[in-house]
């Protein structure tokens, strides 16, 4: 399987590298513009300056979002190609299990997201230090200081839901190929994915409501929903399917709570769809 990961990387790195280069160029242009604007800050037209900053923020968001979407479709496409193009004749006659093939696709996808994210972040920090000097170090220090059990678990839970979504996508692609042979209906997998996502979200939210036991991440104590007494200050509704609750006592951040069973359900669904995808492409494949 390690070897398959190696070849998967070999086959995709050029495209990802392209995205990375675009991102770095875009960050450079944006930061240069901002630094110029700050140097020539015109106090007589503060509104204009603020609008400019807003515009730059908008552009950055657009660039990052665009890159993420492009990388996403490329990664999804690389799985789709195995099932719809001639390369599948090579991939699916390798002595590998279905789980190994799906696992490889998943690992490489996240590897690329990690590489893209880390490279862009580091580059921007470096650029900011060069362009804006020492005071920016302070800001980064502040950011690093906010890293604690809460933000880490938040990241972890978000990652879990991202992984589950990607597996669900693979599952939808495999299912649409197996059920309708040789008919390349472009959007079928996407519709399947939306339907399945909705079902998963529904199940998780039902579990969240039926078993409202939360883990307080600051004390690592279990808490029932009534103890949290936060029906009026939940910022993340458990109805969205995300099993995390932010406690905001009187508008002040008071901690994070994770619904144990909701998270567990999410995890189980993730594993089940992973195995399901592996099963479909190993046992039900129809090239």
């Amino acid at each position: 399987m390690g070897k398959f990961i190696k070849y998967e990387i070999k086959g995709t790195y050029k495209f990802i590298l392209g995205i990375l280069v675009m991102l770095l160029i875009a960050s450079t242009i944006i930061q240069l513009n901002i630094s110029n604007e700050i140097k020539n800050f015109d106090y007589s037209s503060v509104n204009g300056e603020i609008n400019f900053m807003r515009f730059m923020f908008f552009v950055s968001t657009l660039v990052i979002f665009g890159a993420a979407i492009t990388a996403f479709f490329y990664i999804v496409g690389s799985f789709r190609k195995e099932l719809y193009e001639d390369r599948g004749y090579l991939t699916f006659t390798l002595p590998l299990t279905g789980n190994q093939i799906v696992g490889t696709k998943l690992i490489v996808a996240f590897l690329w997201y990690f590489v893209l994210g880390a490279a862009v972040l580091l580059y921007n920090i470096l650029l900011a230090i060069i362009l804006f000097g020492g005071q920016w170090m302070e800001i980064f220090k502040d950011i690093f200081n906010t890293i604690n059990i809460n933000t880490l678990s938040f990241t972890l839970i978000s990652l879990l839901s991202a992984v589950t979504s990607l597996i669900l996508i693979y599952f939808s692609i495999a299912l649409s190929k197996v059920s309708i042979r040789n008919k390349k209906i472009g959007g079928l997998w996407f519709i399947l994915f939306l339907v399945l996502s909705a079902i998963v979200a529904y199940i998780v939210s039902k579990v969240n409501l039926a078993l409202p036991y939360y883990l307080d991440l600051n004390t690592f104590k279990l808490a029932g929903i009534q103890e949290l007494s936060m029906l009026d200050h939940m910022s993340f509704s458990s109805g969205t399917g995300r099993s995390m609750v932010l406690g905001l006592g009187q508008g002040v951040f008071s901690g994070m709570y994770i619904n144990i069973f909701g998270t567990l359900t999410q995890l189980i669904i993730g594993i089940a769809t992973f195995i399901g995808t592996g099963y479909l492409i190993e046992k039900k494949i129809d090239l």
């Binding site: 190696k6 050029k14 001639d86 599948g88 004749y89 006659t93 002595p95 494949i285």
Partner: protein, 231 residues
């Protein structure tokens, strides 16, 4: 003689037709077997089931005693009837790829065959002509010391020189320890390398047997027999 492949009551149906219809077939170890039939006779469907990229609707298939899966994929060397290599690969990449995934791959044999086929190591797979591609694919497939080789239409659509080279390579690399299954509709060009032949028509075995015995019994070459059956 031991059977390396045993097929019992194999059927594959699609929405509107049956590609294989209750097919029984045993393939003996050490034989070169020709599977003959016109387009749509079920040749490719049968081969896809043996190689594990298609599932039967009914029936049973055992390859070296196992159902198609990871083990059978490790002992079957398969030449599909299409360009199955990844597009980003060079000739050399494809050889390394095979070496990495198949324990039975003989790298030095591969480079020897590459020379025989006059293929450039550095060439991109995507830039090869149809004949060159077929030669590269065959090089990879024959460089494995596999128990079973499956060649789907190995000489279809290539020029006569390449055809001779391909036939040469197949004969040179055949050994009595392994079994070769070859599908073709170019019977005249290939019939001399078959031990046994199987005629497929509409998903069932119309006739099968030892090629020489059939020539003796019917006093005609297999190509003429093919024309008689399907003509």
């Amino acid at each position: 003689m031991t059977n390396i492949i045993e097929i019992k009551g194999l059927s594959k149906s699609y929405l509107n037709k049956k590609a294989l219809n209750n097919l029984d077939l045993n393939i003996e170890k050490g034989k070169v077997v020709g599977i003959l039939g016109p387009n749509g006779s079920g040749k490719t469907t049968l081969i896809k089931i043996i190689t594990g990229i298609l599932r039967q609707s009914k029936g049973e298939i055992l390859i070296d005693g196992s159902k198609p899966g990871v083990y059978t994929k490790s002992i079957v060397s398969y030449l599909p009837d299409r360009n199955f290599l990844y597009k980003w690969m060079t000739v050399e990449d494809s050889i390394k790829f095979y070496k990495d995934f198949y324990k039975d791959f003989d790298e030095s044999k591969a480079y020897e065959l590459l020379k025989f086929m006059k293929l450039d190591r550095k060439a991109k797979v995507e830039s090869l002509s149809k004949g060159m591609n077929e030669k590269l694919n065959l090089t990879l497939v024959l460089s494995r010391n596999a128990k079973i080789y499956i060649l789907d239409e190995p000489i279809a659509g290539v020029d006569p020189v390449a055809r001779d080279q391909i036939l040469d390579a197949i004969i040179k690399n055949y050994n009595r320890e392994s079994t070769m299954i070859i599908t073709t509709h170019l019977v005249r060009d290939m019939e001399n390398i078959f031990d046994d032949v199987v005629f497929l028509r509409e998903g069932v075995v119309e006739l099968s047997g030892n090629a020489e015995e059939l020539r003796e019994e019917r006093s005609m070459q297999i190509d003429d027999l093919y024309k008689e059956i399907f003509g």
